[in-house]
Amino acid sequence: MIQTIYVEESVRNHPRTREICARFPGATQIDCERYNSVFNSNSQNFRLQKQQPSLILAHKRKGYVLPTPPDYGIGGSHNYYFSHMLNCVYDCRYCFLQGMYRSANYVVFVNYEDYFDQIESTAKEASGDSWFFSGYDCDSLAFEPVTGFMRYALDRFSLIPKAHLEIRTKSTQVRDLLSRPPIKNCVIAFSFTPEKVSQSLEHRVPSIKKRVLAMQKLQNHGWKIGLRFDPIVHSKTLESDYRDLFTTIFESIDPKTVHSASYGTFRLPKPFFKKMVTLYPEEKLFALPLTEHKSQVSFGDITEELCLSTVHNLLIEFIDERIIFPCS
């Protein structure tokens, strides 16, 4: 439950600010001139804030849509991402957000219209179809009951068939999606790690069973479903862990209508990793013998190769190889 809401002066009277604040009648509201004076201030501790994150409502001023890093995508040639929200209600220990941001508070930019104006113009300018990835700096659906962002996004995307939307999530907040007809240019992509990894690293995330059930409902309703296996965290039982996971998923999901699957190994930029170690020195994942290469921390080439080939070989037992995309 949100107990404190910081409100940027520029959005104090925005209708969405009023709507969101009304959802938390008991919360203390604090005015701030610019959101970054709260969010980026020095000497904050992400771990301590994660105990009771506050909400910051702000106005995004530029950079609504940005190109994804190369090799990020599911087959499209024009790939972009956008973040209406910074930070996540879940607490995955491998999540790069802990290393990237000083604050664990949730920032929601309430000027949704500006995002979609830029998405529309970006899609129009592109020679072919474009992909827009949501859920880069947050989970796309976990905070949906508060923000209503995806509801708005789907209304807008339904008018831009050249633009494809990926909603990436570990959430089971799918009620809204089930209450509307699916749109062709949207994929709801669910992220998974095997049970053991999920239990030890994905804190506050709905169980695999619940996520599979949500996915099944969406698939039955006609939504395109994506599967994301990123990060792969090495373990001695990697193969059997992923076999169990895939079996659980494909017992409930029709593999023939899966839109896409992608996978990638655990890796982090070195400065993020360093900060995460300071926050959680007792985390076993960070204590494992990881290697540094080209300012990235990972399990190292040999182990990565083993992880990638294991997951790939298992996946092709279930789905068509043409819809599988490795991410680096």
């Binding site: 604090i30 501790n45 301590l48 105990q51 009771q52 020195p281």
Partner: protein
Amino acid sequence: MLNLVVATKVEAESLINALHLKHASATFPLYTKDTTSLVITGIGKCRAAATTSWLAARSESVSASTGRNTSACWLNVGIAGHREAPIGSIFCAHKIHDLGSGKVWYPPRISSPLPSANLTTVDKPLENYLPDQLHDMEGSGFVETARMYSYAELVQCIKVVSDNTEQPFSNIDAKLASQLIEQNIPFIIKFMDHLQALAANLNTLDISIVSEFLHRWKFSVSQKVILERLLQRYSVLHSPMTTLPADLHQVTSGKEALRWLTHSVDSADFSL
């Protein structure tokens, strides 16, 4: 570790009594017991800043990797004016504005039942209260300085309302100031407990064996950082090192000790 920063002796008295603190230094009036310290700063933000710095410098256990005494809690307690709030009401500050410099700080909210309010730090008492604000003379100096030594979440200000438009500043005397803090002691202590419980999240690994290493061998500053991390990893992957393993008794340099530790953690089991 809990550091209390209070402007005057009269505001500090009931805290000193409630926490059974004993006089410990004459440089600045300092009162301590175990890991709790209370320092009296004198009035004004410059004094608050200087005394906070002095108290931080006395604290010994600074981590080599973070440069901070990462779990130290800092709490400024005192009286403040407020245009509307009743005398004796207590708040923690959620926004601190230094009227002189225009600087603003937002102490991160911690889970506590205390109500919160804006706090404006002024250089001299204002004749007219600003609306919806606490007014004090130390908060900004304290928060700006204490944040250099600890995490923002662990640096907080608690204020008890001593004057308002109906009972102005000129009515405050030593007795009233002391009484106002005293009647709020249970809330203040509860807040301290919350703060210390929060800080306890940071003390998750015991690597006190590090002092044994530093005593036996020489380490450069950067080697100390590496040593701390290796001991943390050792503790996670094996079990906390409480005594030096026999193998290390033969080792003759810090470099060799680091090599031994590195081998020990890198050859550990490769799974979660």
